[in-house]
Amino acid sequence: MMRLFGLIVLLWTLAVPVIAQDVPVDPRASTGGAQTLEDILRRQEGIAVDDQFRRDLTGDPEAAAATVDQLGTLGGASDPDLWRAIRYGTADITTQARGPAAKTLIQDGGMWWLQFREGPLLKIAIYLLGGTLLLLTLFYFIRGRIRIDGEKTGRTITRFKAFERFGHWLLASSFILLGITGLLSLFGRKVLIPAFGHEAFSALANLSKWIHNNISWAFMVALIIIFVVWVVHNLPDKTDLQWLAKGGGIFGGGHPPAKKFNAGQKLIFWAVIVLGTSISLSGLSLLFPFEFNLFGHTFSTLNGWGAPGWFGLADLPYPLAPQEEMQYAQLWHAIVSIILTAIIFAHIYLGSVGMEGAFDAMAKGEVEEQWAREHHSIWAQRVIDDETRRTGAN
């Protein structure tokens, strides 16, 4: 009998662990379902934590005690349940304020945006813009000013008509003011307020905002003008490959043939058109808050294609809270603007101090014939031939 009892005990002790392994272990059993120390530490390290266990803990009206019981009128949701529901956007909120964002009392993703905006985004701006200026300065000292190699003829040919120059200067002047006011807004809280105080920055910020918001229309008008007048001259062709293969002749000398615009200028043109359009769209989204939501739909479409997976990333967030739409628009607007500004630094350099004779094209519309023959030989020859034919006909 004792042997039989011993066998039963042995089998039981062996079987219990097997049974225990089949029962799923609740990782938050020790906290009664609330977040654990591990969850908090993971979040502090920036590691993603699946917070579904908290999202659903928003109380249950069915669990409410009957009104006749003690404390029954408090309902089935505790204060923490209510705050969780507000935080995760599932609370039934009634408000007299209108607009898509009115019912979002706590926006869970806002801190990520704020921290990125006040940290990495400012560093991106400093490194990219400062780095570009540094590289251009180095380039100037290494390569020097690109001079007109041949002897100047004293004759000029028309490079840009008045309307082309008007469109260029409208775009340039609006872009410079937008860039300055945009950087004032971006660096205001972290740099300008500590340096000049709240009151001084308040006046500057108001003026800056008015300029930025309203000059944006001039930028968009100018973007359309330069696209219309120059797109034909900026379509890629085989001369661009030759120009790029020789690096534009910047190092090693020589002047690869080019039409009205060389491959480098075409790259600048398309960067201005594509990035400028993108900046305009995200700017309109910011100018009319919550009216044009660009990112939620884009993220949903990209997720549908499985695009994030191509780069080993998780799906992009969808749906987005109304504020998140604005936050993504702000980040996109700022980052693309910073990239375009860096490209424009190079354009301004080459169009002014970097190359002899280049500024005349936009200042006067006329360029030295030798300059045109060296930098835009195909275009120059065509213009000179046309002029000769016209003169001969007269």
Partner: protein, 43 residues
């Protein structure tokens, strides 16, 4: 530099004009984000 000066004039005209138009049609964040609906103004 005449096109440059005209561009500056156009810049100011477009900016002020756009601001006037948006103000005239009543577009502002306060009008877009609020409503008198569901508000008992007469009680």
């Amino acid at each position: 530099m005449k096109p440059f000066l005209i561009a500056l004039v156009a810049l100011v005209a477009i900016s002020v004009g756009a601001n006037q138009i948006l103000t005239e049609i009543g577009f502002s964040t306060s009008t877009a984000g609020t409503s008198t609906g569901n508000v008992r103004l007469t009680d």
